[in-house]
């Protein structure tokens, strides 16, 4: 679509605003809501979406949220998947920090971890694209590219009959993203920023997706442990809609996700 055509499309919106606002509000039935499609690719937000929302409320020291280099030599596939998700979240942090070298470092680690899962061939070109965008400071594009990379990893997992690992990548990203966001809020509490933490349905959705994976994978000590702790985390992020969490409540979420993240990062998987 040409730039002019895009502007024409945008211009046509103002004419229907009033109509949309004036219509009688509709309601969905409980059955309709229960049967609504819930998919990994559209129902679960990216860490980047979470970071953008947090960045609206305050200036965040994103580079202060970096963590040290992580091992890329795990042998347990569930642990690799969880860490891959966390690493992709780290990529979104580096994009928010507008740190091209960090983006490149993380891009390289993503490829290494993906290689350990046998899904790296197509990703090699993605890695060079990430580097190119980082060098050119194309931050908006990098954010979309990171999500595309994550989806390509998941697609490759599905084609390698590793579809059960997909939700673990998503979960690892959410845990790391929530760890970073809660740490930033604890450092400089602001109730507008704290509002982003209310996501009980999102945690329930991830729990429900985990319940669909194979009993063998679900029974692995690390997966079992993370799943159990997710139940506790769901309670911690179940705030009333009109009441942002207090600094103390945010700290409790941070401690809970920090504990899970430590287990995920550990070189020795949980026994």
């Amino acid at each position: 679509m040409s730039r002019l055509a895009k502007l024409a499309v945008l211009a046509s919106f103002t004419g229907v605003l009033a109509a949309a606002g004036a219509a009688e509000p509709d309601h969905l039935t409980a059955d309709q809501m229960a049967k609504a499609v819930k998919s990994d690719s559209i129902s679960i937000p990216t860490p980047g979406e979470l970071f953008v929302a947090l960045g609206k409320s305050a200036k965040i020291n994103w580079s202060g949220q970096y963590r040290g280099p992580m091992p890329v030599t795990y042998s347990n596939r569930a642990q690799i998947a969880l860490n891959l998700g966390g690493l992709i979240a780290d990529g979104f942090i580096a994009v928010e920090a507008k740190d091209s070298q960090q983006v490149k470092n993380i891009g390289s680690d993503i490829i290494k971890l993906a290689k350990a899962l046998g899904v790296s061939e197509k990703l090699l070109s993605r890695g060079s694209t990430i580097n190119e965008f980082a060098e050119n400071n194309e931050w908006d594009t990098l954010q979309e590219e990171l999500e595309a990379t994550q989806n390509e990893v998941k697609a490759a997992m599905q084609s390698h009959a590793d579809q059960d690992l997909v939700i673990l990548v998503t979960l690892g990203g959410w845990i790391r993203g929530t760890q970073v966001v809660t740490a930033a809020i604890v450092q400089n509490y602001d109730d507008r920023g704290a509002r982003v933490l209310r996501q009980p349905a999102l945690v329930r959705l991830m729990q429900s997706k985990i319940s669909e994976i194979s009993p063998e994978l679900r029974g692995e000590p690390l997966v079992k442990d993370v799943t159990q702790q997710l139940g506790e985390i769901e309670k911690l992020v179940s705030f009333p809609p009109d009441k942002p969490p207090t600094a103390d409540e945010v700290r409790k979420v941070n401690q809970a996700v920090g504990k899970v993240m430590t287990e995920i990062e550990s070189k020795e998987p949980a026994k």
Partner: protein, 144 residues
């Protein structure tokens, strides 16, 4: 942003999202229409999610997807549909199922709804056929 960048991203998005199953030609066409609308918002700083949701849609049987949104962000949900669907609508509902007030765009078989949630949490997005017969639709969303 240079003009080639959104074009490149658009191509990447079409080529790379998670293929749970092979997309039909109708789904590819509907998705292209949805991305056309979303592309207009990209000029206004909205980032297009790589994920999408495509499927069959028929009159009086709305398609509904759950989404999880963050307070502070602005969202646009853009949908396209293929013949014989003539006219569609996109609506947003809160976690209790109550329709929320949205900005709207309506252009026959393409439509979009813009929304800025005051509360984080689960919302539902529906795509309805207002005119026409059963066809294929695709929904994408963007945020800033």
């Amino acid at each position: 942003m240079k003009l080639w960048v959104p074009i490149f991203v658009w191509i990447v998005l079409l080529a790379s999202s998670v293929p749970v199953r092979a997309q039909t030609d109708a789904e590819v066409s509907a998705r292209k229409d949805a991305l056309d609308i979303a592309g207009a918002f990209a000029n206004d700083g909205f980032k297009i999610r790589d994920g999408h949701w495509c499927g069959a849609i028929k009159p009086h049987d709305r398609a509904i997807v759950a989404v999880n949104l963050y307070a502070g962000n602005q969202y646009w949900f853009s949908a396209g549909a293929t013949e014989p669907v003539k006219k569609i609508a996109v609506s947003v509902y809160d976690e209790a199922g109550k329709q929320v007030s949205t900005e709207g765009y309506d252009n026959g078989d393409k439509a979009a709804a813009g929304f800025s949630p005051a509360n984080s949490g689960q919302y539902f997005v529906s795509v309805d056929v207002l005119e026409g017969e059963q066809g294929t639709f695709c929904l994408v969303y963007s945020y800033k």
